[in-house]
């Protein structure tokens, strides 16, 4: 516990809700990104998975929508300290997209339209932990929240859920992405409060 701040009481604690350390609850949906919001026309949109041997699997927008989708309700935790609980999404599980992909890679770099990147261990994208999400709260995902489609990996801080996702590169060696190169944690587990390098 830190030093007590004289006269600080804080909000009445919401009972029964457990948040990761250092997080607070919001009801709205804040926006965070490092640059302008890219607008990607759907007829030019594609999502790809490229393996360590250079083999590329591609999906057009229509092909993505034709895949079996899931509806999931997940909690979001942003490194800027807000958490939003029980957010409803729809999208395609990475298990579905990775099913036909032969790989021995352990790491992934997610690439976005607009140039954003973020790195993750491949195993964090498997077993019902990650999706390419294209609907939020019953509506098409808006551009400011990452539409037409974003990666959604809710068990890690939200910067790992790359907005405007364009593809995954499977890597045998880990490389830092955009925020990871700027001092943020390589893995980003909110429950272990892995905000910055060295946490």
């Amino acid at each position: 516990m830190g030093i007590v701040s004289p006269g600080f009481r804080g909000r009445p604690r919401s009972k029964g809700v457990e948040l990761p350390p250092g997080q607070y609850l919001v009801e709205d949906f804040p926006v965070l990104s490092a640059g302008p919001t890219p607008r990607v026309p759907l007829d030019r949109w594609e999502f790809s998975v490229t393996t360590e041997s250079g083999e590329t699997h591609r999906w057009s927008w229509a092909e993505l929508l034709a895949l079996p989708s899931e509806r999931m309700t997940v909690d979001l935790h942003c490194v800027t300290r807000w958490s939003k609980l029980r957010t409803p999404w729809q999208g395609v599980s990475l298990d579905t997209l990775l099913a036909g992909v032969e790989t021995a890679a352990d790491f992934v770099m997610a690439d976005s339209y607009g140039g954003y990147t973020t790195n993750l261990p491949l195993q964090d994208l498997r077993n019902g932990q990650a999706w390419i999400a294209y609907r939020y709260d019953g509506k098409d995902l808006s551009a400011e929240h990452g539409g037409p489609a974003r990666l959604l990996v809710p068990h890690l801080y939200l910067w790992k859920s790359a907005k405007w996702v364009r593809g995954l590169r499977l890597l045998t060696q880990d490389e830092p992405g955009f925020w990871e190169s700027a001092g943020y944690h390589d893995y980003g587990d909110p429950w272990r409060e892995q905000r910055y390098q060295g946490d």
Binding site: M1, G2, I3, V4, S5, P6, G7, F8, R9, G10, R11, R13, G22, Y24, V26, D28, F29, P30, V31, L32, S33, A34, G35, P36, T37, P38, T80, R81, W82, G114, G115, E144, F178, W179, S181, A182, G183, Y196, Q197, G198, D199
Partner: protein, 245 residues
Amino acid sequence: MNVAAGWRVARLVGVHDETATARTLVLDVPGWPGHLGGQHVDLQLTAEDGYQAQRSYSLAAPAKGDRIELTVQRVPDGEVSPYLTEVLTIGDPIEVRGPVGGWFVWRPADPAPVLLLAGGAGIVPLMAMVRARRAEASRTPFRLIYSLRTPGDLYYGEELRRPGPGDAGADATLLYTRTAPPGSPRPSRRLSTEDVERYGWPPDFEPTCYVCGPTGFVEAAADMLTKLGHDPRRVRTERFGPSGG
């Protein structure tokens, strides 16, 4: 950046009201390593019962030794900003971590011209860049467009209205969205693409653009820059303030 040094105990050594609802805090942070314009700190408050709240605040000026400055806008019903602007008293301790951030920063060695677009409290990290330019005696061409509601909402008024010799080559334009001061040539209205074209740098100058403010402002201003032909890779944004929908 490595902020693994963790939490440091800082002490409030000075305050200065910028407006009726915003206050600059001067903190003494023993061992502060220095920082770049645009970086922020995390603050942590602890209540008697152990409850903790953390928030991020931009560094408003270059460090003077162990002294750093933040400017906090009081958010009605906020958990932390009313405490910082109304309760925290000279001599009180507060935990600080940082500096944080390696993207929304201006490096004095970077020769590219700089275009700063501030909405409301978004002026804070951009002012830190203007002040860093002055402190470094840099000649990098700067232009600041500061969009604010009324003259009463102006932060750093003295400095912005009466730039000193160290600010030659750093031009500031104040644009009002609700009430312009008497005699203003431009009526009060929201920032427009024409404003950005007129008071900013042309895209072929290839400036690095920094946009900071509430989400709506940042979305709109960043779109205007790309529409005018600025390369999106040279547009850096930071959003704080009321969170968008």
